[in-house]
Amino acid sequence: MNIDLYERIWMWAASALVVMFLAAILVPAAVQAIHPPSHVETLDPTKLAEHPEFATGGVNTRSDGSVVVSVAASMFAFTPNPIEVPANAPITFRITSADVIHGFQVVGTNANAMAIPGYVSQMTVTFATPGRYIIACHEYCGLFHHEMVGTLIVR
């Protein structure tokens, strides 16, 4: 192709930039296994009230010391609330919804997942700083979406 020299330089520079961006994601993905939450698990959202794990939700410590937090989102609250977890330990959140789509975001951290009826979102997060955190529903779920707020206490 008949391409101007400056433009050719720019095209190489742009390619290099794109490759660098990608490397910044692919290398941690390959080396440190840094992935977005991608759990695949289904359940019947209309029967959540009888579900052994999600009827009340809760915080459970497994024998190996890891902590699992099960959360059911529904209009317009998180169950359980508040949630108490230890600092500096890997916390696995398991989140689902009893009705419409909700969001689950621990404000000021990168704990962020969608609560989708019929599916379980799962992610593991470590909180280094003890304190009270706001859990905000960040997906529109009805007229009181903005009041759907929970509390996470990290000790």
Partner: protein
């Protein structure tokens, strides 16, 4: 009206009307998020107008404007439009669809926002109305393609006129994108909202939605690029820097902008990490044609400055026609896109996405990209098209001159505030930024600043609507100036590889199948239960 552009002008009229109404709703939303009291402020009004603002801006304003622009480009570059009558039919269908959807929204029956994620359930007419708008755009696309074929029969072997090349890429992309939407809306949502089926799978619907949702962004952006490449250098008094690379850019958009939808679903369950990664790779690849665009368009402007006698390294910038409303709009839209691009690169990196996903950062982001890069280009293009379509002189030219600067100024305040608030964790789509007291006043200063930006934006929107209406109704009659397109430095002598739309379309389809067939099949093979509908509004 000057006859030959009546159909196009009618589309632009609907677009501007939708834009005006939606802008008023936008400023109310910004006030409400800042917890600033005004009469009638209420939760139901907030979410109802948020739905209307999203639908009117993202669906009605953009689609109707693009259809109008497409008719102008086809009429001017191809000489004639085949099937005008079908065009009027499409116009009727689209307008009726928009009206039907608007009525159910305003009556509070469809407060599901413009993303309408099930199991939130709207009135059936909401989905049917939206479908009619898309059907109208399909007919429009077919008319443009038919007009191109008629032209091709008389111009064998010639390169496709450059504006039409971009337009064809846009239309084919749109067919590809709306296939996902049609599966979701016609196959799932309409039967469910009518009660023919009881349950719907929200996750499967989301995947179809985002198959559509990302190329939708390029459906908005590519017509803006057509104007940057083909009109901006002309208005600036220069030449288009590279004909061939312009064609390459549009083909790359056609290929790469659909197989990327999972970057909107990084936080979703049900999709494996490997597929999210695959869509991340294509997402970054689509940055490339935008980088090339930045170079080609800015180089074209430099040529313009130098043709006007500029000598130094940067003083060509001062020679550009900054007081021309079209030029100013597009130049500012391009500056907005530089910022939007940074934000986009952040959103697409999933580690950073986890911090900002569904926060106010996102509304900050798409008001610079869609709300400025695209919308400001379209506003500028209105000033360029109106005298040429209607044979009327622009009224209140001074207002038209300051309007783009006002928009850019307001948007800088508005969008910067929401970007920062989002990084600090303010969720998006909230009636009250203080989350009705539950979150204290954490973001209050920022939401108030954004509201100030919103008021300035509204003033600018009002200026735009006033100029359009005044020109249309009482602009002095003149001989319509010609539509002129930029001349490339080195025009393509014959149709080259980037003109082979059959080949590129086939490849684009293959990429969509590769990106979606396996993860969808994987999801569909799980036991799935489905959800009944909910109307919490």
């Amino acid at each position: 009206m000057a006859g030959k552009h009546t159909l196009a002008a009618s589309h632009i009229g609907v677009a501007v009307a939708a834009f005006g109404v939606a802008s008023f709703m936008g400023v109310l939303q910004a006030l409400s998020m800042a917890d600033i009291a005004f009469p009638w402020r209420s939760e139901s009004l907030y979410y109802m107008t948020l739905t209307a603002h999203g639908v009117l801006m993202a669906l009605v304003f953009t689609t109707f404007f693009i259809m109008g622009l497409g008719y102008v480009l086809a009429r001017e570059s191809l000489g004639r439009i085949v099937g005008q009558a079908a065009g009027w039919l499409a116009f009727g269908l689209g307008t009726a669809g928009a009206a039907a959807a608007a009525v159910t929204i305003l009556r509070g029956q469809s407060t599901v926002l413009y993303t309408f994620y099930p199991p939130l359930q709207a009135h059936p007419l909401f989905y049917i109305g939206a479908t009619l708008i898309v059907v109208a755009s399909w007919i429009w696309g077919a008319i443009i393609i038919a007009s191109f074929r008629a032209w091709r029969r008389e111009h064998r072997g010639e390169p496709i006129p450059l504006p039409i090349h971009g337009l064809l890429a846009t239309i084919i992309l749109w067919y590809l994108a709306t296939t996902g939407l049609a599966i979701e809306v016609v196959g799932m949502l309409i039967p469910w909202s009518l009660g023919w089926v009881e349950k719907i799978d929200p996750m499967v619907a989301r995947i179809y939605f985002w198959w559509f949702g990302h190329p939708l962004v390029y459906f908005w952006l590519m017509p803006a690029y057509i104007l940057w490449y083909n009109v901006l250098p002309q208005i600036a008094g220069g030449r288009l820097f590279s004909d061939r690379l312009t064609r390459m850019v549009f083909i790359l958009f056609l290929l790469l902008s659909t197989p990327v939808g999972f970057h909107h679903q990084f936080s979703d369950p049900g999709i494996s990490a490997g597929w999210k990664l695959a869509h991340t790779v294509t997402t970054y690849a689509v940055l490339y044609p935008s980088f090339v665009t930045a170079f080609t368009v800015i180089a074209s402007l430099e040529i313009a400055g130098r043709m006007k006698g500029a000598k130094g390294l940067f003083n060509w910038i001062a020679r550009l026609p900054w007081s021309d409303p079209f030029f100013a709009s597009v130049a500012l839209a391009m500056i907005g896109f530089a910022f939007g691009g940074f934000g986009g690169a952040i959103n697409a990196a999933y580690a950073m996405n986890a911090l900002v996903h569904n926060t106010a950062f996102i509304q900050g982001h798409f008001h610079v990209t869609l709300g400025t890069t695209v919308a400001l280009t379209f506003m500028g293009a209105t000033y360029w098209m109106l005298p040429r379509m209607l044979g009327r002189e622009l009224r209140a030219p001074a207002l038209a001159r300051i309007q783009p600067y006002l928009w850019f100024f307001g948007m800088t305040i508005f969008s910067t505030s929401y970007h920062i608030a989002g990084i600090r964790g303010l969720p998006r789509r909230v009636y009250s930024g203080a989350l009705n007291g539950t979150a204290g006043g954490d973001w209050h200063g920022l939401t108030v600043a954004a509201a100030v930006g919103g008021v300035i934006l509204f003033a600018s929107a009002l200026a735009y609507v006033i100029v359009v209406v005044a020109t249309w109704t009482s602009g002095r009659r003149i001989d319509a100036p010609p539509f002129e397109f930029a001349v490339p430095l080195r025009p393509e002598p014959v149709a080259g590889v980037w003109d082979r739309f059959g080949l590129w379309t086939a490849l684009a389809i293959v990429l969509v199948v590769l990106a979606y067939a396996y993860p969808l099949a994987q999801l569909l093979s799980h036991p799935r239960y489905g959800s009944p509908g909910f109307q919490p509004f």
